[in-house]
């Protein structure tokens, strides 16, 4: 995943209007008082036409955040507070968390759609793939005839690079990568404005990964939807995403443009994450990894969740939980001012122009 041709530079963040605004979203697993608080007051904004990457270790809440925004969390998931506003093309704002079941049903797939983790196995083995795509079209657009829907399905398959003849194939006749692309075609069937992709390439080999990522970038160019791309693979994310939100222990710790995160990380965790894999190009740097393990969500320590593993921990880190705010270097320019980071180092260094930041975080 090195080719920089993959990266489609589009209008940067801020240029598009927000299409999905997640504000102070809190999610519990469990209904009693001993429930695990997996997300605590998470806010994130997705702009129109943007690819937003969600990265972080396993179990840090990436998928939970995306599914909670669509209200797709299975029991015992429970959204305890916050709001998720979806803005339609005509400017209508809807709070997803206040929608009734019927409204939710109507809006899903039409406005926001998901490509699930392990999507290859989401196809029903006893129906032809063309029919499975057509089913969704017919459910949301009752006026279309079955014939039209099947034609549309064939067109969608063409769009993701599968020959239209294969619409009459059964899922077992397709390879894993093709099934993945069928799922993407299905997700795009109703021209959604937000596409959530939950590790769509994890089970595939790198060649297939590249094809799919290229395809998503290409389709996004043509159709203009926004993507939330969830993955562990930070290097892949840097190629495809416009903006990256790094998550740690149920919190967004850094939210900035992809290239900024890659070249100039501001949070110690982002920096450590980037130093955990070797860059294929550019200057050589030392691989450090991150000592320790993420905290137990059931027994969260007070203060910054990353404090036990952080190289720059101070007393305040162990006591006060940092909030997402501007960086200490916000006066460096417009781009820098748009970045958000949740770290006490930046609070402390704010007045001094970033002078007291560790060298690795002040580039």
């Amino acid at each position: 995943m090195t080719a920089s041709t993959l990266h489609v530079p589009t209008a940067g963040p801020g240029a598009g209007d927000p299409v999905l605004e997640i504000e102070n979203l809190s999610v519990d697993y469990g209904y009693t008082d001993d429930a695990t608080h997996v997300l605590r007051d998470v806010s994130l904004t997705l702009h129109r036409g943007e690819v937003l990457g969600l990265a972080g270790e396993s179990g840090c809440g990436k998928s939970t955040l995306a599914y909670a925004a669509m209200r797709l969390l299975p029991p015992p998931g429970l959204i305890t507070s916050g709001s998720v506003h979806f803005t339609d093309r005509d400017g209508t704002r809807t709070d997803v968390l206040r929608q009734s079941d019927a409204e939710l049903r109507a809006s899903r797939w039409q406005d926001m759609s998901v490509v699930f983790q392990g999507a290859m196995n989401s196809l029903n083995p006893v129906f032809r793939i063309g029919r499975q795509i057509a089913d969704g079209i017919l459910a949301h657009r009752p006026r279309t005839t079955r014939k039209e829907a099947l034609e549309q399905a064939a067109g969608l398959l063409e769009m993701v690079g599968i020959n239209a003849d294969r619409a009459r194939d059964y899922p077992h006749q397709l390879s894993g990568g093709m099934r993945q692309r069928v799922m993407i075609a299905m997700a795009l069937a109703l021209d959604p404005q937000v596409l959530i992709m939950d590790e769509p390439t994890t089970a595939l080999d790198v060649v297939m990964q590249r094809q799919i990522v290229e395809e998503i970038a290409d389709l996004r160019e043509r159709l203009g939807f926004s993507v939330v791309f969830i993955t562990h693979d930070v290097s892949l994310l840097i190629e495809i995403a416009d903006r990256i939100a790094i998550m740690y222990a149920g919190d967004v710790v850094e939210d900035a443009r992809a290239q900024d995160v890659y070249r100039r990380p501001r949070h110690p965790y982002s920096s450590a994450l980037l130093h955990s894999f070797p860059p294929l190009r550019g200057e050589r740097r030392e691989l450090t990894g991150i000592p320790g393990a993420p905290p137990d969500m059931q027994r969260m320590p007070p203060g910054c969740p990353f404090a036990p593993r952080c190289a720059h921990t101070t007393d305040v880190c162990r006591e006060v939980r940092p909030a997402l705010g501007p960086t200490a270097l916000a006066d460096r320019g417009e781009q820098e001012a748009a970045r958000r980071v949740a770290c006490h180092l930046h609070d402390a260094a704010a007045g001094r122009g970033g002078g007291s930041l560790p060298a690795g975080l002040a580039r």
Partner: protein, 342 residues
């Protein structure tokens, strides 16, 4: 234990109470999850009541159930709480004394049918091939035999068809359905990766069956056991009711037999057949409730919702797949629509 039982009662009274309890020792609360389930608790309570009655029945019964008196066909009075039958025998005593017969037959039949079913079903599912074919054929034969006529014939042929004989006959004829279900489930489990992995590790067959497969069948076995006990109780009551088993052995069916033979319904003697019928229904309900409890306890998906049903209702949470509930603390809960124009 009593501590937890009372907590289950008071479970949802206040949320703060819950917190106190959980802070105490969360692990301890988890251990008695089964008992914190209202359904299971009710079922176990009723079963316990009948169990105690079966144990001490002959001693606490106010009269000898066979003792004839001058109070012929009396409605409930202070002397005879549930009235008397056509020869002046006390019906309450008959019910109390008859409990033992019902429970013993149910238990023996349930245990024997379950053991037979597990042995045949799991073996058939696990060995495959000719052994599977043979055992499947055997259970198919037992499945198509009309059970009740067979029981009537066997019980009628045996001169001393007491409770235990009837129980064994019911057990021997009633295992086939359980065996079928267990065979199907074993077939599916046998091919799962964790069993294959254990096999590849060189585990012996008996260990594969006992440690890998059987624990996964617990819920089905338990449900099958409860179902068989219900069936056995009903069969035994039926046999007694139609007079196949000796009428001197008291059980609830015997009471119904006498009531039917002496036209209790036509005479309006409701106290003669209603209590016995209610006891049968109550026992069946208790067993079903225990079955529900086992289901919610064994199935982790049902567990967290099943354990906290009352709490969820109070907080207006309806857990469903595909529609994550949202907690409303604001003044207008459950507002169906809210389109906010910006």
């Amino acid at each position: 234990m009593t501590h937890d039982v009372t907590l289950a009662e008071a479970e949802a009274e206040t949320v703060t109470e819950m917190r106190v309890e959980h802070d105490d020792d969360p692990r301890r609360a988890k251990r008695f999850l089964f008992l914190r389930n209202g359904k299971a608790l009710t079922g176990i309570g009723i079963l316990l009541f009948f169990g105690i009655l079966a144990l001490v029945g002959p001693w606490i019964a106010p009269y000898d159930p066979n003792q004839v008196s001058a109070d012929l066909l009396q409605p409930p009075t202070a002397a005879h709480w549930l009235g008397t039958d056509h020869t002046g025998r006390d019906i309450l005593s008959q019910i109390i004394v008859g409990t033992r017969g019902v429970l013993v037959v149910g238990l023996i039949a349930g245990v024997s049918a379950t053991i037979l079913g597990v042995v045949v079903g799991v073996t058939a599912g696990f060995v495959g091939g000719a052994g599977d074919e043979t055992l499947s054929a055997l259970s198919n034969v037992f499945l198509v035999i009309p059970q009740l006529p067979l029981i009537i014939i066997i019980a009628g042929q045996l001169p001393t068809a007491g409770g235990v004989t009837v129980a064994l006959v019911i057990g021997v004829t009633g295992w086939a359905w359980g065996a079928r279900v267990l065979r199907a489930q074993t077939l599916s489990l046998r091919k799962r990766d964790f069993v294959e992995a254990a096999r590849a590790n060189g585990e012996r067959t008996w260990r594969l069956v006992l440690a890998e497969v059987l624990p996964n069948l617990t819920a089905i076995i338990a449900a099958g056991f409860v179902g068989t006990v219900t069936f056995a109780v009903l069969s035994q009551v039926t046999l007694a009711f139609i007079g196949i088993t000796p009428v001197s052995d008291w059980n609830w069916g015997t009471i119904l037999f006498w009531a039917q033979n002496n036209l209790a319904l036509q005479r309006g003697a409701w106290w003669w057949f209603v209590p016995a019928g209610l006891c049968i229904a109550l026992l069946g309900m208790a067993l079903t409730l225990v079955n529900f409890g086992i289901d919610e306890f064994v199935n982790p998906r049902l567990r967290s919702t099943g354990m906290n049903a009352r709490l969820l209702r109070r907080r207006r949470i309806r857990p469903r797949i595909g529609f994550t509930p949202v907690l409303r603390t604001g003044p207008s809960p459950d507002r169906p629509t809210s389109e906010e124009r910006s």
